[in-house]
């Protein structure tokens, strides 16, 4: 479990750096509700992005993005609604994104 969590954190850190480099503003990280969690909430221009980060070391069991099932997508939508209600946000353009990471030199990091 610890290994998985660490791997996830590394992926998220990497993603945040990448997004900031691309001009995104990070608004929230690991937004947690009873329904589920969203890894990163960021915005760029007029669009609000809800981002799920998937990090994997091997692709034998399918690519990371394939692990975002329909159920997970539904839950993300729900969580996004809660977030926007809580923060009184009323954005027109909302986007749900998946950041797919494949790590190959993982040993040195953990």
């Amino acid at each position: 479990m610890r290994y998985k969590k660490k791997l996830g954190n590394i992926g998220e850190e990497f993603t945040v750096k990448l997004l900031e480099d691309c001009g995104y503003t990070i608004m929230e990280r690991n937004f947690w509700t009873r329904v589920g969690e969203i890894d990163i909430i960021a915005r760029k221009d007029e669009t609000l992005h809800f981002i799920e980060v998937k990090t994997r070391t091997r692709v034998d069991y399918g690519y990371p993005a394939e692990a975002v099932t329909e159920d997970k997508q539904r839950r993300m939508k729900k969580v996004a609604e809660i977030y926007m209600l809580q923060r009184h946000l009323n954005w027109r353009n909302v986007s749900f994104d998946v950041m797919e990471l494949t790590a190959n030199m993982i040993k040195n990091c953990i």
């Binding site: 690519y63 993005a65 394939e66 975002v68 997508q73 998946v98």
Partner: protein, 511 residues
């Protein structure tokens, strides 16, 4: 990232060309198939994914949309596995997206990328030829039946990988050969089981009746006690029918291909089909049916013989339901707002026992049936369906002398076949292109002329047997067939007398 691939679906017994459009956009990995696809087609997603990966290609990542046009046509069957897989590979540029449009592709996939045979390749290939697609890729298992698609360039493939190589290859030599009936692996010998009418001793009157029935395509009913040879006679009937024409051969092969009965080792059927459904058969089995309708026994007997043994044991409703198809020579099914037309032009032969126990009228054994049982049984033999039977023949038990005899007077398939051919040949030479049983009422006057003696006989018989106008017409038609076999332009007294004798059984029963 867009491609178009041609394929076809088998809609009843007709092939309809379908275009598989594949589009790959970036997005979460997902594949959706639209265009009224059945569960079988939807499941092809899993087969295609495995087959592509196991063939050594990369499975495209992204949002894949597959559209099957015409999108209002219901599609069923696994024959769309291969075209959808090729569509995906053409979208990802493994296959030449321009060249692929010249081909029509049919085939099912196994998980390891092998191309498996499917049902209905023949109608599908013909459908694609009609819409101008000349190069057709089929599974090896179905290569033989495509010989009936005249002028098509057929490329048989074993695997998905081979299929892609064929499409990409500049060298087109493999597709140069146009298919024609000549190179079909047709069973040249007809009558493979060696059935011959000479196997049946005695029953010469029944054999005569059969040859008349076949020559005019009249419905025939044989009535006789158990074991007198009704079934044996019926099984030999396809042997005396004239050889199938090329058109008939293709029509029959289409039906067998569509219903998945093309046995590859057995190659293409050259004999006329002989179908003898069991009497417990349901209506769907007899007439065809199902959610995606498949041909029933009457359609499988197209251009051949439909033999209903123990016809009195069939559900009466099932027998009655044959009335329209017998007249129309096709049957129409409606499913989900779509029309399916199956041909069913067959020679109808029925057999029955004279009563429930089977020994009514037997000189040696006593019939154990009660009067009410007899009446009930008889009722099944009359009615509107029986009215469509032109020839009825009663069969006696064969005497020992006839069985043990050398069989000098025993007529063989060869002789009967000649009789039939003579009858049909004469009718055609007189300008009658339909079988005598199908002569329209208005044409009867034109074709069925009787001489004076015959007229006199008919005059007496009409009153004495209390014939109806309909039976009068039927008798004339049978007499016409008998005269044809005699190569006589005019119906003579003998011809009419024989025709009347085949009617007697019923008229007496009804009175």
């Amino acid at each position: 990232m867009f491609s178009k691939v041609n394929t076809a679906v088998c809609h009843g017994v007709t092939g309809i060309t379908v275009t598989v459009e594949t589009d790959i956009k970036s997005g979460l990995p997902n594949m959706s198939i639209v265009g009224l696809a059945s569960t079988t087609v939807m499941e092809s997603r899993e087969r295609i994914k495995s087959a592509i990966i196991n063939s050594g290609f990369d499975y495209p990542r992204g949002r894949i949309t597959v559209n099957l046009t015409p999108s209002d046509l219901r599609k069923n069957g696994s024959a769309m596995d291969l075209p959808i897989a090729v569509g995906l590979l053409a979208s990802t540029l493994y296959a030449d997206a321009v060249r692929v449009r010249e081909y029509g592709i049919i085939g099912a996939l196994s998980l390891d990328g092998e191309v498996l045979g499917v049902d209905g390749v023949l109608p599908m290939a013909i459908g694609m030829m009609d819409s101008g697609i000349k190069k057709i890729i089929v599974p090896w298992a179905n290569y033989n039946e495509t010989a009936l698609v005249n002028g098509a360039k057929v490329i048989p493939v074993n695997s998905l990988k081979e299929c892609i190589e064929r499409i990409n290859s500049q060298d087109a030599s493999y597709a140069d050969i146009e298919r024609s009936l000549a190179d079909a692996d047709i069973r040249k010998v007809s009558n493979p089981k060696g059935l011959d009418f000479a196997d049946i001793k005695g029953q010469e009157n029944a054999k005569r009746a059969i040859s008349i029935a076949v020559a005019g395509r009249h419905g025939l009913l044989m009535i006789g006690s158990p074991g007198c040879g009704k079934t044996m006679l019926a099984q030999r009937i396809p042997g005396i029918m004239p050889q199938m024409s090329e058109r008939e051969l293709i029509e029959t092969a289409i039906v067998y291909s569509a219903s998945g009965r093309t046995n590859q080792s057995d190659s293409i059927l050259i004999d006329r089909p002989f179908r003898s459904p069991h009497n417990t058969i349901g209506r769907a089995g007899l007439l065809g049916g199902g959610m995606y309708p498949v041909p029933g026994e009457i359609t499988l007997a197209h251009n051949g013989v439909l033999f209903l043994d123990e016809v009195c044991e069939f559900d009466r409703e099932n027998i009655e339901s044959l009335r329209t198809p017998v007249e129309e020579k096709y049957i129409t099914h409606f499913r989900g707002g779509e029309q399916y037309i199956f041909p069913c032009n067959f020679q109808l032969i029925m057999a029955a026992n004279p009563c429930k126990c089977g020994y009514y009228g037997d000189p040696d054994r006593i019939c154990k049936c009660s009067i009410s049982q007899l009446e009930q049984y008889r009722r099944k033999l009359s009615g509107p369906m029986m009215d469509r039977i032109d020839i009825r023949v009663s069969m006696e038990k064969v005497a020992y002398k006839e069985i043990s005899g050398k069989g000098d007077s025993c007529r063989s398939t060869e002789e009967l076949k000649n009789d039939v051919a003579r009858g049909i040949g004469f009718a055609r030479s007189m300008g009658r292109m339909v079988f005598n049983a199908d002569i329209s009422d208005s044409d009867i006057r034109k074709y069925c002329h009787m001489d004076n003696e015959a007229c006199k006989l008919m005059d007496g018989a009409y009153a004495a047997l209390s014939l109806s106008p309909r039976s009068y017409n039927k008798i004339l038609k049978v007499a016409r067939t008998i005269a044809d076999m005699d190569e006589s332009e005019i119906i003579k007294k003998d011809h009419l007398a024989e025709a009347l004798s085949y009617r007697l059984l019923n008229e007496i029963n009804n009175s």
